[in-house]
Every structure is written in C-alpha cells, then in structure tokens.
Amino acid sequence: MAIIERPSTPALAGSGAPAVVTPSQAYGVLKRPVSTTGWRSWVFTVDHKKLGIMYGVVAMFFFLVGGVEALLIRLQLAGPEGTVLSAGLYNEMFTMHATTMVFLFVMPMAAAFANYLVPLQIGARDVAFPRINAFGFWCFLAGGLFLNTSWLLGGAADGGWFMYQPNANALFSPSHGVDFWGLGLQITGIASLTGAINLIVTILNMRAPGMTLMKMPIFTWMILVIQFLLVFAIPVITVALFLLMFQREFGATFFDVSAGADPLLWQHLFWIFGHPEVYILVLPGFGIVSEVLPVFSRKPLFGYRFVVFSGAAIGFVGWGVWAHHMFASGLGPVSVAVFSVATMLIAIPTGVKIVNWTLTMWGGKIWFTTSMLFAIGLVVEFTIGGLSGVTHAVAPSDTQQTDTYYIVAHFHYTIFGGAVLGLFAGFYYWWPKMFGKMLSERLGKWNFWLMIIGMNLTFGPMHIIGLQGQPRRMMNWTEARAGEGFFNLGFWNRVASVGSFVIAIGVAVFLLNVWQTHKKSSKTPKAPLDPWDARSLEWMTASPPKEHNFDAIPTVHALDEFFHRKYEVDHDTGEVRKVATGEEILAAEEAKADKHIHLPSPSYWPIILAFALPLMGYGVIYNRLLIVAGGLVVLLAMFGWALEPSVADDSDYDPPADGGGSNKELATIG
C-alpha cells in the first residue's frame, strides 16, 4: 500500500545543497498551508482533482446565472411589447448571457473535465505545473466575479458578446460595463492561457509508459487540440482587448471612423479569436461523446484515427474561416469567396466525426443510460446545427440570414446541442468516478428528456422566425406585424419562451438529482468500481481516486487499456470473454504500489496572485493608484512563488513530521 509521505527536506535532491532558509522562516509568521481537510485544503490546494471540482462548481454557478439571464430574455419576448426589461437592460442581458455562457460556463466546465480527467486518463499523478493550475482556476474565478460586479457598479456591458466597434465606444456605451467586460475577459484569458500551456505540457510529457500518442484516450486528444487552439487564439483577443482598453480609457482612436480608423479591425481581431473559440467550445463535447458512445455500445470507437485527425483538422481549418462572420460587412468578393469555400471545407471533418459516431453505435449492444442518451442527443442535435451552419457558409444565403434569429437557432443547436449536451453526458458518465456515487438514472432520464424537448422547443422555432426576418437582439415584437398563420412570429416566440422554461426545469431536475445523491440521509450506495464496463485508464483506480491517483503508474499496451486487461479474445472460438474484473485489476495494481510518493504541497501564492489582477482591473477603471497597488501585490506574489519550493518543508507541519524519514528513496511524482 502506498502512502503519501510527508516530504522531508532532502526531497529537493535535485538542487544539491539542502535548503538553508525554510519557507516558514522566509515568509515570517505564515506557515505553508498543508492541511488536507477543511476549507484550507480547498483554497490553497494544487491537486488537479480538487481544482477540477472547483472549476465545475463555479462553472455550474455561472451556468445558472447565465440561465437566469436567458430566461429573462425569453420572458421579455414571450408576449407582444414585453415590459419585463427596459431596452438598456435587455442589451445588457443578452450581452452578459452570451459572455457568461461562453467564457464562464462552457470553457471552464471543459476545463473542469480536462483538469480532473486528463491526468487520470494518461496515468499521471498530477499536471505538469500544479501551482499554475491553481492560479488558472483562481484567475477564472476572479475574472468571472470581476465581470459580474459590473451589474452593481453602473450596469453591465451592452454591446453584444462580440462588442462591435464603434458601437461599444464610450460615446455609445457610456457606462463602465464594456470596461469591465474587456478587463474581465483579459483576466479569464490569462486563466485559459496558463491552463492550456499546463495541459499541453502534461499531455506531451507525462503519459504513462507505453502510451504513445495514438494510444491516448480520445477525450485527451480533443483536449490537446483545444489547448493548442487556446494558446494561439487567446493572444489575439488580448490584442483586441488592449486596443479596446486604450480606446476607452486613454483616448486612442483605433476604431474611430472620424479619425480615419477602420472599425473592421476590431471585427477581424475578434473573429480571428472568435472562430477558433467556437471549436474550443464544442470539441470538449466531442471528446466526451467519443468516450461515452463506445462504452455504451460495447464496441471500440469506429475509426479512432479518423476521429483524432478530423479533430486536429477542425482545429487547423478553424483558423481560416473567421471572416464568414463578416460576410455582410463589405469585405469584397474575393475575400467572401475564399472564406466561403474554407467554411464549407470545415464541414468535412465534422461530418467524418458524425459518421464515426454513428458507425460506432451501428451493430453495438447499446445500453441506454442517461449518459448515452445525452451522447446520442448530441449527435442528432449537433448535426442539425451543423447543417444550418452549412447554409451560412453559402455567402448569398448568409447575407439573408445575418443578424436574424436563424443565426441564433444555428449556434444554439451547435453550442447547446454540441457542448452542453456533451458536458451533461460527461456528468452522468464520470460522476461515479469523481464522487464514488451514481446519479439516479430515473431522474437522469427526466433530466435528459426535459432538456432535449426544451431545447428543440426553444431553438427550433427560431429557424422559422429567423427566416421570417425577426432580427436578433430585438427587444420587442408587436402583434400587428407578427404575420399570419403558420408563420406568426408571436406564436413561435411564445413556443420558444415555453421551451426555455422546460430547459430550466430539466436543469433543476439535474440539481435535484445531485442533491438527492449527496444529501446526508441519502441511501445511495457507493458506486461500483467499474459501473459502465469502461475502457480507459481513469477507471483503473479507486473511485473517487486517491490523492495520488495511482498506487502504481500503469504500463500501457493498447488503446482502451482497461478494456484489454478485462477481456481477451479466445483464439479457438474467436469469442471475446471476460478474464478479469475491475476490482481484480485494481488489486493487482495496488499490490505493486510505489513505496514512496511525493506530491507537491499546497500554496498561498496562486490565489494571492490571481486576486491581485482584478484589483488592477478596478484600478484601470476607477483610480490609477490601484493599478500600482495591484502591480506590487503581483510582483510580491511572483517572487514568493519563485522562491517557494514545490514541497513544503518539515517545519511547516504542525506537529512536526513524525519520523520524517530523511533517507528514504523517492518516487517521482508524475
């Protein structure tokens, strides 16, 4: 049985001489936070699993915030001449709904899964840079809170999530909302960038022995593609946001037409970021589904290589299509033609994936769990969204559809149908892994059907009202101009509003499910070790996993390693038969456990550094002195960070380390 040792000073064997200055001496009275229970163990943690769960909880919170914003929008449009929101508030509402859902829900929820699962899937004990990981999470939280404080401080951003210039200039948007938006995204951008670099290094460097890139679980592959997109897309939005900040705060004129500027500059920069961003949103869902479908079809993923390469191809071509968001902006015929063709091209790898998923299910013994239902839901709904997407690729028809509800319908089918359904499939699939308990399948089915019916009720009619010409972002419609019969805008708007509440009930059922499973009096039994007869490495450890993930780092021989350890082909009959259970495999792994495992210790610095950033943000908006103050905290935190060893010194423990064992052999932490 492996034990996590309390590390002793010579853990720093690499640096030669033992530490002369211990951390506690170096930083005055503060001891290194080392507790493993209580709130401290969460706030200062560097454990990728705890951080993953925190990402999930916070993202879920913002999902509810964004959901309430969406419901308010739908309430406003439920009847003619809605009076729920004022025009200004309505603008803020749709801007913040989109921003929240994109940046504060889908991206961090994907980060939650990535953080939690990638190290487990590749057989590592943590990510490459645990403290940077913690920093990324706190940055995201700080940025998200900063962004939302704008509601209390004079109004949120109101320029649409793309914040087109010059509409979002100080002249047309005098509140501080846009400033909060820009700086808030800047901070969450830092979170994404550091997270992305961290995960790439983790995936490329820390795979278990034997796991070549082509034996890597497909979810990890998709996460890898996404992180590359993030690394290269985030700096572009950073430039755009800085230009925006200089424009609004320091009087530059980058987007000021009267000064001779070209407002298209903003649109280009935004969409160069924005289109890869679209794939950043949807690829995690693809990855999850590519894990879920094979497990519940009891077949290997059809065409693993094709799924991998089409994922990479989507990531690559995604860089060459940004201007299709701008067909209506007068780019000129050559640009429009080029980007139109490129956009049609990107349908090919997406289609390849759909075909692969379908063929994975074909002939399989399908087990309709909630998770599987969500996955199938994704395949169907995303295909609908993808098809309406192809109609946008055709520039002439796009010109007709631009800025109508047809677009709204399209991207909700892709993002809700692609990303959100995928994430829910992930919840149900990995819940027993993360928390050791199964979510109720009965409530899960309710959750699924409510959400799937709700989404089709909400977003389906938007195709109709969009083609009828109802503009997007319109805060009011009147009975007099709603039209007749089947194409009556009012009727379909009401249907959409009803649908949005059906979705809301579906989400409520999910929350109820979570609460029922985990409430104190819950009789939910502990989940079996391998409830789904799963295929990949993360199931080859306890549920929930121990702090160090694996007692012994497994050696990988095949794609779907866990499956191949459970099943063998009988050479005489050609039949596949079960040779071991998950428990037996786990016991075998535990038997050869590493003797000594060292994990990095928790740290104060990530959270301090992260919360210094919004301080600087407020400084930019209100008082330049705060920038200086925030900057000093940043500088201090970075020095503290740089000088802090990754494992805590003995003297940080209270009471001091028992035994301390100074000359034991050291196992590497992955």
Binding site: L12, D126, M206, F232, G320, E644
Partner: protein, 120 residues
Amino acid sequence: MSTTADHVEHGDHADHGDHVDHAHEPHVHEHKPDSYYVKVALILAAITALETSTYWVDFGAFFLPTLLILMAIKFVMVASLFMHLKGDDKIFSYLFYTGLILAILVYMAFLATFRFFSPT
C-alpha cells in the same frame, strides 16, 4: 500581456520541482565555446549594419526584399543558435514555429482583406 509573461515565467521555473519527469525534456545540447557565440553575434551585428546602411545608400528595387530577407536571416540565427532550437528536441521547434507560421499566415490574410498588399 506583460503580467502573463511574468507569471508564466516565474511559475515555470518555480514549478520545475513539481514535475520531476525531466527525462522527456532533453537539455543535452552540446555546449559551444563562448567564442562561437561571439562570432554569431558579430555576424548579426554586420547584418544590422547592412540593414541600417539602407538608410543612406539607395538599393533601388532590391530595397524591400533585401531588408525582409536580412530580417529573416537574423531571426532564424537567433532562434536556432542562441535559443538552441537547432540542437534541441524537434518538438520545441514545432511548437514555436507553429505559432510563428500561424501568426504570419493569419495576419497576412487579415491584411489582405484590407487590400493592404494591392496597389491602391
């Protein structure tokens, strides 16, 4: 962006204790004598001097291509010799040049949509 630069930097080396798995990050490039680097720097300086001379001497039609080629040479020299890309694991080159080439392609296309390269 500067802040990003900073903490990634610090985090980077601070965290090296965290991942002990150094085997995958080879730092085994042979160390050249200092005189070698001085020679490289002299060549770079000479190129800079040549570039600057365009300010006084008229190169005619060769002006723009010359400058761009000299710039590229300097870039590659610093990247592959000073930054050891040449001797290091290929993966570093891939990562860095992916970013670079992507940037060039995307921003060329971007400027092209503004008809930046066409004579007006």
